[in-house]
């Protein structure tokens, strides 16, 4: 690690300039039985290394599709995606993903679930378990290390899913409405957990949600998407101080940001409504 730092300060400089994720002119088209459906229409954005970006937008606007494409699970119809400067063709271990459902392997204990990634990348069982145990402690589930997923609550399962995605030490972490299925209280706790976690892992995070509050609490920058076909309407920089917690929602600066976002969303909603009336 040290060696790499010392040897090439030039390439470090370069890496700092290069975005962690570059999405340029991304379009995604699905063939349906009613013809072609443009899910995502010429979306472009960059994410800087270590940045936390939230994508918000109404249901069906293509948030998951964009994320899946960055993950390499979906193939772009048009446009390019570079992660750490390299094009994405298929899932890569340096890109981690947390889905809306935890999708834990039901036959594996919490520890084995988290150790799965390192095992697949060729680590020994002992090494993988050590990594898993560290992460289990980090997400506060030490008591449940040997439990099977079906004995855990939804919030606990999602914490395991996050730990599992972190086990391969991804440079980029993609999160698709990971707290969408949780109740409001658990959700607030999970947001605080994630904020605390994020200060330690230093990964670049792209987080999808349709909850504008969640987006502002978590993000450095919020991308607001429009519905069908999905486009990016506006970028809002969130310059709230860190370290943050969900109590930031009580500050005036927060409310001003939220008003900005809501204005954009309302204008778009009205436009979409008028357009559908006109048709």
């Amino acid at each position: 690690m040290k060696l790499a730092l010392a040897s090439s300060s030039a390439s470090v400089e370069e890496a700092r300039k290069q975005p962690a994720i570059q999405v340029s002119n991304l379009s995604i088209v699905f063939d349906t039985n009613r013809g072609q459906n443009i899910a995502v229409d010429r979306v472009s954005f960059d994410v800087a290394p270590g940045e936390f970006v939230c994508i918000v937008g109404p249901s069906g606007c293509g948030k998951s599709t964009v994320l899946n494409t960055i993950a390499g699970l979906e193939v772009p119809f048009e446009g390019d995606i570079l992660v750490e400067g390299a094009p994405v063709y298929s899932p890569r271990p340096d890109v981690g993903m947390v889905f809306q459902q935890p999708h834990l392997f039901p036959w594996k204990s919490v520890r084995r679930n988290i150790a799965h990634g390192p095992r697949m990348l060729g680590r020994s069982r002992a090494e993988a378990n050590a990594i898993a145990d560290d992460l289990i402690a980090m997400v506060g589930l030490t008591r449940f290390a040997d439990a099977y997923p079906n004995t855990l609550s939804g919030g606990m399962q999602q914490r395991v899913a996050i730990a599992r995605a972190l086990a391969n030490q991804p440079r980029v972490l993609l999160m698709d409405e990971p707290f969408g299925a949780l109740d409001a209280q658990t959700r607030a706790v999970m947001q605080d957990n994630l904020l605390a976690l994020r200060d330690r892992i230093k990964a670049t995070i792209v987080f999808v949600t349709h909850d504008i509050d969640e987006a502002i609490v978590l993000a450095d920058r919020v991308l607001i998407m429009s519905a069908g076909p999905g486009r990016i309407l506006r970028e809002v920089a969130v310059k709230l101080p860190r370290p943050r917690s969900s109590s930031v929602m009580l500050e005036p600066a927060y409310l001003a940001l939220k008003k900005d976002c809501l204005d954009v969303i309302r204008a778009e909603g009205l436009r979409a409504f008028n357009r559908s009336e006109a048709n």
Partner: protein, 264 residues
Amino acid sequence: MAVRTDGRARRPDSVRLRRVNILVGALSLPLFVCLWELVSRSGAVNMVLFPPPTVVATAVLEWIRSGQFFGDLLASLFRVTTGFIMGGALGILLGVLTGQFPVISSLLSPLFHILRPIPPIAFVPIVILWFGLSEAGKLFLVVWGVFFTVWLSTHIGVQKVDRGLIRAALMLGTPRRQMLQEIVLLGALPYIVVGLRTAVSISFYTLVAAELAGAFAGIVYRIEIAQQNLQTGQVMGGLAALGLISFVADRLFAALAERLVWWR
């Protein structure tokens, strides 16, 4: 307050009810056997055709003492277990192949779907033509019956594996060629186990057909011989033995199934 005393009063009632149920359950079989004995000996029915339990018990004891029982038991158990293991293994193998690879499914599934609904018993005549009275023919029938059930449940199980689990595994660096062993087989396991459990009783149905078609030993074979000699007690003893064996087999498999799907 009133509600609480109410609840307290009800509890001993439900305990008593449960005790009564256990007692009735324990008495069920003895009561039934006594009734049977009484009816048989009352003269209302023909005792040769409907012998009392004591006569059946004597016949079974005689069957065991003559040494034929264990030969029959071994012959039948051999057919059932060998057929079950062969049919089950084949069913799982082909179920994984058709479930996982669409080309193989297109090739084989139409054929299997046509053959599957034919009751295995209907194959007895052709099995006799092909195999005569050999053991191979009997195994064939059991394997045939077991195979289709296990194939179908495995096929469905493999297809129903949660796509989300596969995506999650891909994101964690699982190579596609390892997906089968890491995710698909385990995801399908609950279905496979259900198929195997159903196949346990199917293997006994087909055993009956196989031994009726002509054998030289076996529980069902002994039942048929006894019938020809009008030894109704022996016939009933054979039926009881068959019932007991398949009951035990089912229970053993249920216990095994619990361990196979260990995370439930």
